[in-house]
């Protein structure tokens, strides 16, 4: 199947997503909820791109969950898509009690999109930490509900130890019946910490290192 990404022709397998086509063409499309090891989720909406369909209609779509169609023309620099993706990232910054630590994927997306602070302020997630597990820590206030940890636990490990909880702005993540990793079906594989883009779930040892070396990152991502 042939599609065009930012002016370059790309051949992709039938069923490929627009994000896969864009990456095959070498285009940099930022993402937050996407992890190629798991099925696309379509939650963060940071991977928005412009699509000019064969029918002539111009739309903005989430590239991770949109399948390619023959002859599709993709514009990863579409001004509307970029403007809205940046606004979404600003909204994410506005829900966190502090700027993301420099080493996190979220901080990298903030840099890539050239986001400089947030226009929005308001309620932020309350601090709630859980360090009962020997080496996995929750910092619930940093959770952006991307679902990567829950899906890693389901799709990579098959442990089903994690779940999304709550809804709307108060959505978050829990292990077992919110009793922490140790009292859940967790097998301590660390797939959740590995995929987390914000340190909401992280390894305790890394938390200590990050705290020691990234003190200056707390205020400027």
């Amino acid at each position: 199947m042939r599609v065009t990404v930012d002016g370059s022709a790309v051949v992709v397998e039938p069923g490929a997503s627009v994000l896969e086509a864009a990456r095959a063409a070498g285009a940099a499309v930022p993402t937050l909820c996407f992890d190629e090891r798991m099925a696309p989720f379509g939650a963060c909406r940071v991977c928005l791109v412009g699509v000019h369909g064969p029918d002539g209609a111009d739309t903005v779509v989430a590239s991770c969950t949109t399948p390619c169609r023959e002859g599709m023309v993709v514009d990863t620099h579409d001004p509307g898509a970029r403007r809205v993706a940046r606004a979404v990232v600003e909204l994410v910054l506005s829900e966190l009690p502090a700027a993301p630590a420099r080493h996190t994927e979220l901080a990298a997306v903030v840099r890539d999109l050239g986001v400089d602070g947030s226009r929005w302020s308001g309620a932020v997630h309350a601090e709630r930490r859980d360090t009962r597990h020997p080496y996995l820590a929750f910092q619930h206030e940093l959770c952006i509900s991307c679902g990567r940890c829950v899906r890693a636990c389901d799709e990579i490990q098959g442990a089903f130890a994690l779940t999304a909880v709550g809804r709307g702005f108060d959505a978050n993540v829990a292990a077992g019946i919110d009793a922490g990793f140790r009292d859940s079906a967790c097998v301590s594989c660390g797939a959740c910490a590995d995929t987390c883009p914000t340190d909401a779930i992280t390894e305790l040892s890394l938390l200590a290192i990050a705290g020691a070396t990234e003190d200056d990152s707390a205020s400027s991502p």
């Binding site: 696309p40 993706a85 979404v88 679902g147 089903f160 709307g168 829990a174």
Partner: protein, 551 residues
């Protein structure tokens, strides 16, 4: 949808066995609050992981609020807001001495907010145990512990020969089974131009073709009885007063797409709907109209009912199917569409209740007669609309498309009570635009309403009278939007909270920032909840900017 969890739910749950949502609802009804043991028991019964069941317990309204021996639910829907400005909520809270979402220390009484009870014709409404009382004096009666069931106005029709307000009689199914093969009947529905009445207006026959073409041993028809739009009580009317019409529509749809089973998801805010549907299912089975080999045709089809537990977004089709699976009622990205991979991962046609009620009308009258039901419109068929308590003659009314909103508001519904003037009407639910009084001449039809920033939606017509504070309307709608966001996509999860905060704070609203937020919601949201909530706010910005406290 989370594929692995759907597989688990499909493997362990035999059809008709209670879902996790139903098991947890029963536990909370019995004991007032969910314990970890309840969650473990539901996990063991259903084969779903404990974490998953815990996630369900934190999602639905019914499972989150603790219940006292007496559980009072106050309707905070838009019709109740238009009637009292919210005063009934404060009076009830003060009188009962408990805040919404809380239970008295001695366990005697609890109060919860609910949206909406579907008594918009007699607002405000309160549910005290299993009694739904509504209208003037309701708060006093509930506080005196003498709530009484509120009545409901009879439905009317403006059509020469009522279609959707006539009770179903199962006369269409035998004729179709005898005379048409499934493809022929599907083509008749396509020719009639039936489009989805839930608000999205998708051509029904197209869904049927997709599902029919998807290779599978089993297919499903799912009826969306999660009529969550505050201000709407159309599907409630159909499920409770004309359940046979809905069931016959499901059976006909099943015949066309090759489905053998139907499921109706009924919202828990309508306690009367499930018993009415189940009585009609039993009657149809007894008459040989549901079950194996219907009327000797070789076509088998049966229907069961599944309960919701309080979530607006469950009205979205992927969230609806998640709820039928007993999972968190969150939205999933499409594709795959339910017609390809839906209930238990199999091809599924999801239709709004009213859409299904149209199917026997098409079968009985034919495609051409159906299209002619609305002579002034390009749309075929008729529409049920419903009016709120501000009108002199509220109730469900069957109307042709194309008459003006003014004729509906002033002629059919008799204008407003106490001679008050209409300030604006919101049409089609919380995601519908708001039409100011100056535009009441707009025809009630797709294109003209769209040109005015509005939509037919599901068909509720909700008047705000001349005393209404439109900034308070924005605050009310956005509080609803933020509360009901399922939390999956970031724009809706965070953006509706920020939009509500703009209007809830005493500060002036920064218009530039608000418009950036509305654009983000419209362009980037995963489903119609996030992308639709800006519509009424845009109407208010256009028609009532002076009342919004803009900077």
């Amino acid at each position: 949808m989370p594929g692995n969890l759907v597989q688990l739910a499909s493997r362990h749950g035999s059809p008709g066995s209670p879902t996790v949502v139903e098991l947890l609802s029963a536990a909370v009804r019995e004991r007032g609050v969910l314990t970890d043991d309840d969650i473990r028991a539901a996990a063991a019964t259903t084969g779903l992981p404990e974490a998953t069941v815990h996630g369900v317990a934190t999602f639905y309204d019914d499972l989150r609020a603790p219940r006292g021996r007496r559980h009072v639910r106050v309707c905070t829907g838009t019709a109740c807001f238009a009637a009292t400005g919210g005063a009934h909520e404060h009076e009830l809270q003060a009188g009962l001495g408990v805040a919404p979402g809380e239970r008295a220390a001695d366990g005697s009484v609890s109060l919860a907010e609910t949206v909406c009870l579907g008594f918009c014709h007699s607002a405000p409404a309160v549910r005290d145990g299993d009694v739904i009382d509504a209208g003037p004096g309701v708060v006093e009666r509930v506080l005196a512990d003498c709530a009484q069931d509120a009545g409901e106005p009879a439905a009317r029709s403006l059509l020469p020969e009522p279609a959707l307000t006539a009770a179903g009689d199962w006369s269409a199914l035998p004729a179709v089974l005898a005379r048409l093969d499934p493809e022929q009947f599907l083509e008749q529905v396509a020719d009639a131009g039936l489009c989805g009445r839930g608000g999205a207006w998708f051509p029904a026959a197209q869904k049927w073709r997709f599902a029919r073409a998807a290779p599978a041993q089993q297919r499903y028809i799912v009826a969306n009885g999660d009529e969550g739009d505050p201000g709407s009580y159309i599907d409630k009317h159909l499920m409770e007063r004309s359940p046979a019409l809905v069931l016959e529509g499901m059976a006909l749809a099943g015949y066309a797409v090759g489905a053998g089973e139907g499921v109706v998801l009924v919202r828990s805010e309508y306690p009367g709907s499930r018993p009415a549907l189940e009585a009609a299912i039993e009657a149809a089975r007894a008459a040989g109209l549901l079950g194996e080999d219907i009327l000797g045709s070789g076509f088998s089809f049966d229907v069961r009912v599944v309960d919701g537990a309080g979530s607006y977004v469950v009205g979205e089709e992927t969230a609806l199917l998640a709820c039928v699976h007993g999972l968190r009622g969150t939205v999933s990205a499409r594709p795959p569409f339910p017609a390809e991979r839906g209930l238990y991962g199999l091809p599924t046609v999801v239709h709004n209740i009213e859409t299904l009620a149209n199917v026997p009308v098409i079968a009985a009258r034919g495609a051409a007669a159906y299209r002619d039901l609305s002579p002034l419109s390009r749309y075929g068929g008729s529409k049920l609309v419903c009016f709120n308590e501000r009108f002199v003659r509220p109730g469900v009314v069957e109307v042709p498309f194309g008459v003006t909103v003014r004729e509906l508001c002033e002629g059919v519904a008799g204008g407003l009570v106490d001679g008050r003037a209409i300030k604006a009407v919101q049409i089609g639910g919380p995601l519908g635009g708001i039409l100011p009084a100056s535009l009441l001449g707009t025809p009630f039809d797709g294109a003209p309403l769209a040109a005015a920033g509005c939509m037919v939606g599901h068909g509720s017509i909700l008047a705000f009278d001349d005393r209404t504070d439109m900034r308070a309307v924005a605050r009310h709608l956005l509080a609803f939007g933020a509360d009901e966001s399922c939390g999956t996509c970031f724009p809706c999860r965070i953006g509706l909270r920020r939009a509500h905060e703009e209007f809830a704070s005493p500060r002036a609203v920064d218009r530039t920032r608000l418009e950036a937020l509305l654009e983000t919601l419209e362009v980037a949201s995963l489903c119609a909840h996030g992308s639709g909530m800006p519509a009424p706010i845009r109407s208010l910005l256009e028609h009532f900017p002076g009342e919004l406290g803009l900077a």
